[in-house]
Amino acid sequence: MWAAIRVSPPAAATSECISVRVAPTNDDPRWGPVWEADYGPASVTVRVGSGTQTVVAYLDTRVLDFLGRLRAPEPPEQISPDTAIGRAVRYLHLAGVALDDLVPWYVAVSDTTDRADGTSRQYTVIFKRVWSGVPFRYEDQRVTVLMDARHGLLIGFGAVLAAVTPAQTGLSVSPETAVSIARDMLSSLESVMQPAGPSNVQLQVVLPNGIWPDWKSPRSRSEMPTTLQARLAWVVETPTRNPGARVEVWVDTVDGSILGGAIKVSMGRAEPPAEFAALKAAFASCRRLTLASVGSSKGSSGAVTATRSLSPEKCPLPFYGALADLTPWPPGRPAPPLRATHRLGITLKDGRTDLWDYDARNGTIGRSKKVIARAGVSLRQWVSPVRWSPAGTGAQAAPAP
């Protein structure tokens, strides 16, 4: 199968293939130009990047049909998250997806229906793309792998990886300057876009979409990228006067130009836990990150064995990248027990150091064995770098630098 579809589109129409077409135009342009082929009567749908000639999406409805006859696997019958990641990596490797920039970000079993069966209970493994220690925005670049929860059978995957990595690496514009540029721009807009609170800034790789200042036009409202050439940007997030709304303004790190942004509005009445606000504030005023391994062997419980650090002066991209993409653990979702493998030290502006527990096995941060947030992929990569084995058989943790 793979050999048949890893070829140019015309040749993809083998005898097994019943149709080949250009992928639907109303789909996300971040896929890049792709061909879509069906194998069997609507059984397997494959998307092949026309430039990369790799499989970028795959969905096997035969597996869904098969799994639909099975009962939903209970937790003891499910594969472990590590096994799920290993399976996902292997599938992506077989499909020809470049794994070098990918870091696992989300691994979970979820049910689509209230009457779960083998089809509805699936593993979702999501990888984010990282470039030079800086994460891409989730909307722009990601890989999602859906698998059977019992055996890890591949149901489908989608690899949105068409972006071209940034050409610039400099951080000529400081985060403070970026914030003032963004707020000045927002102040010039209509009242609903006026800043209504302090801004938060992160370093991310974005695909410019140029929605500012004409944010009301139909093209801007779709927030689709205008180019697949990615740029390094300060993503300035600011609450506005529209209730529950936060807007992102992406400021180029080299010339301070506004590359685009996004508008996000909370649709519910959710509030993140209070501890998360403290952690986020600490990240916002961080001047140095230190990491100490926590001994887990008998007799060394809690002992700090090694220390590493990141600072904006020595390695700015990994430092700012590690601070990006922090997400609160969703309230109400059961959290895994936090077993600290590392102690994260956040040196604040005033010189104090805030200590947090970090669990490298699932990238969670918390205190007192309570999970509060999930670290961004860059921080995870810094704590325990992942080198994918050449055969794509799974992850191998590289020795710490």
């Binding site: 996300d28 009567p41 209230d114 909307e139 999602t144 859906l146 529209n242 509005v265 649709m267 609160p328």
Partner: protein, 514 residues
């Protein structure tokens, strides 16, 4: 009656015809095992060749005088107690479009003669009885993707003459949705059923269901048919929440675009969508929504929500209102008998799917099967964020649904390209209630699904391609088709409907006389 008696009988009949003098009508019970069938422009005599030779001149004479036999009402009760023919059909409000049933006799004398002939030769009431649907009344509407229809045909050749089905077909408008051919053994009657989608047809258009049968003794071009009709009912309601700056009265920023794309998708699904324009769709107040709920069979919205409650277009502002599941349920409960239940509800709002309250309110989660109707409710089970990932997700979902994929596959396909981010920037999972194998459109005609412990059986996919492109060979099933190579009791194939009683080999009918 042996052949000699039949010959005498025929000669007498011929004399009557030629002489124009009436004579006593033989009792049906004395009728030979021959039938002048069809009473159209042709007549076929069975079974003996000699009978054919003798009867053909009579039949030709009938044809030459343009006499069409209208044997639509039988004065005799059917052996099983019901009235045969279209009289029986009319009683149930059904139509019978048998060729013979629509013709009249121009001349009284000829009428008498023809009546005599037919009564004597071909038991006048003997004909193909057909009903659409096979049992019960025609529904008041066809709505949704699990519309079931059926047709029944039975030879009414009492007391004895036996005719056999060669083929039976069920058509919905101009599409043959099920058929059955018999090759070695032939039944006297059969029943076909099929499931189709009202969304294949424009809202309010007439859907005509026709059962067609071909008699084994008829020429290939002669078919008998009966039809019945009812309208399609596909009405969608869409609303969104959008900030005033973008034309709405609410607080979200993607409501207009999502409402527009969802309305477009429903229109592709042959729904009449209200409101007509997205500008109106993002200006729907609480009372207007509740007033519109009863008439629709599909609803899609993009607004605020929480467990068991749903916001209107203004929610998030001081003018906004919340609709509780109870209020929505009451609105759905006010549907009239002419307003079908909901088939599809997609609530793009926070926590709408965290419980089944809203699904139950719309009646989508009510279990009435098996076989249960093709209904589904989809909503989010967490606090969502009005962002581009959520804007794109329903577009992808509809894209795959409109391509004919089942709901569970469509959700998989939409997720495969990326799950939307919730209010905490975590990937969100959608929750669906009811039928995971729901489809919205382009359902192939298919056999009614047998249920196994409440689980849908597999629906063949790719069949629509086979219908539209006969050369397509990719489909596993090109049509719901079943050849009865042998249909002796206990050895029939089941599928597109079931044979109404075991079919029999010719000559094995218990009433046949040999």
């Amino acid at each position: 009656m042996d052949n000699g008696e039949a010959g005498t009988y025929l000669r007498e009949t011929a004399m009557v015809v030629e002489g124009g003098q009436p004579c006593a009508v033989p009792e049906h019970g004395a009728c030979p095992a021959a039938a002048v069938h069809g009473a159209g422009t042709e007549a076929v005599v069975l079974p003996a060749d000699t009978w054919v030779a003798r009867l053909l001149p009579v039949a030709r004479r009938l044809v030459a005088t343009n006499v069409r036999v209208a044997h639509t009402v039988s004065p005799r009760p059917h052996p099983d107690g019901r009235r045969p023919g279209s009289g029986h059909a009319r009683r149930e409000g059904l139509s019978m479009t048998h060729r013979a049933a629509t013709k009249t006799l121009p001349l009284r004398g000829i009428c008498v003669v023809a009546t005599i002939i037919v009564a004597g030769l071909a038991p006048a009431r003997a004909d193909w009885l057909m009903r659409v649907p096979a049992s019960g009344p025609m529904p008041r509407y066809f709505s949704g993707t699990n519309c079931t229809t059926s047709g029944w045909a039975q030879w009414d050749g009492f007391p004895d003459p036996v005719h056999f089905l060669d083929k039976i077909e069920l058509w919905v408008n101009d599409r043959r949705v099920a058929y059955r051919e018999y090759s070695k053994c032939f039944p006297e009657g059969d029943e076909l059923a099929a499931v189709f989608d009202s969304t294949e047809f424009p809202d309010a258009s007439t859907i005509v269901v026709t059962v067609k049968v071909h008699d084994l003794e008829d020429p290939p071009e002669v078919w008998h048919s009966a039809s019945n009709q009812t309208p399609a009912y596909n009405k969608g309601f869409v609303f969104g929440n959008e900030i005033p700056m973008l034309g709405g009265i609410g607080s979200l920023v993607k409501g207009y675009d999502v409402a527009q794309s969802m309305a477009d998708s429903l229109r592709q699904d042959h729904h009449t969508v209200q409101p007509v324009s997205p500008t109106v769709a993002v200006n729907q107040h609480y009372d207007a929504i509740l007033a519109a709920v009863p008439s629709a069979t599909a609803l899609a919205c993009y607004t605020h929500g929480d467990t068991g409650i749903l916001g209107d277009s203004a929610t998030g502002t001081p003018q906004g209102h919340w609709m509780t599941a109870a209020q929505l349920g009451a609105a759905c409960g006010s549907k009239t008998v002419d307003q079908p239940p909901y088939n599809w509800v997609f609530v793009d709002a926070c926590n709408a799917g965290i419980t089944k309250d809203i699904a139950v309110a719309f009646g989508v989660d009510v279990f009435v099967g098996p076989p249960s109707p093709d209904r589904a409710f989809v909503g989010w089970a967490t606090y969502m964020q009005d962002n581009t990932s959520l804007q794109m997700w329903p577009r992808r979902l509809y894209q795959y649904l409109l391509a004919g994929q089942r709901l569970e596959n469509s959700i998989g396909s939409a997720n495969q390209a990326g799950k939307p981010l919730d209010d905490f920037d975590n990937p969100a999972d959608v929750k669906l209630y009811r039928d995971a194998r729901f489809k919205t459109y382009k359902m192939c005609p298919r056999a009614p699904r047998a249920s196994s412990a409440g689980r849908w059986t597999h629906r063949p996919e790719g069949v629509r391609d086979a219908i539209r492109n006969p050369t397509h060979t990719g489909g596993q099933t090109s049509l719901v088709r079943h050849d009865h190579t042998c249909c002796l009791p206990g050895n029939e194939r089941s599928g597109a409907g079931s044979a109404r009683g075991p079919a029999r080999m010719p000559g094995t009918h218990p009433n046949s006389r040999s």
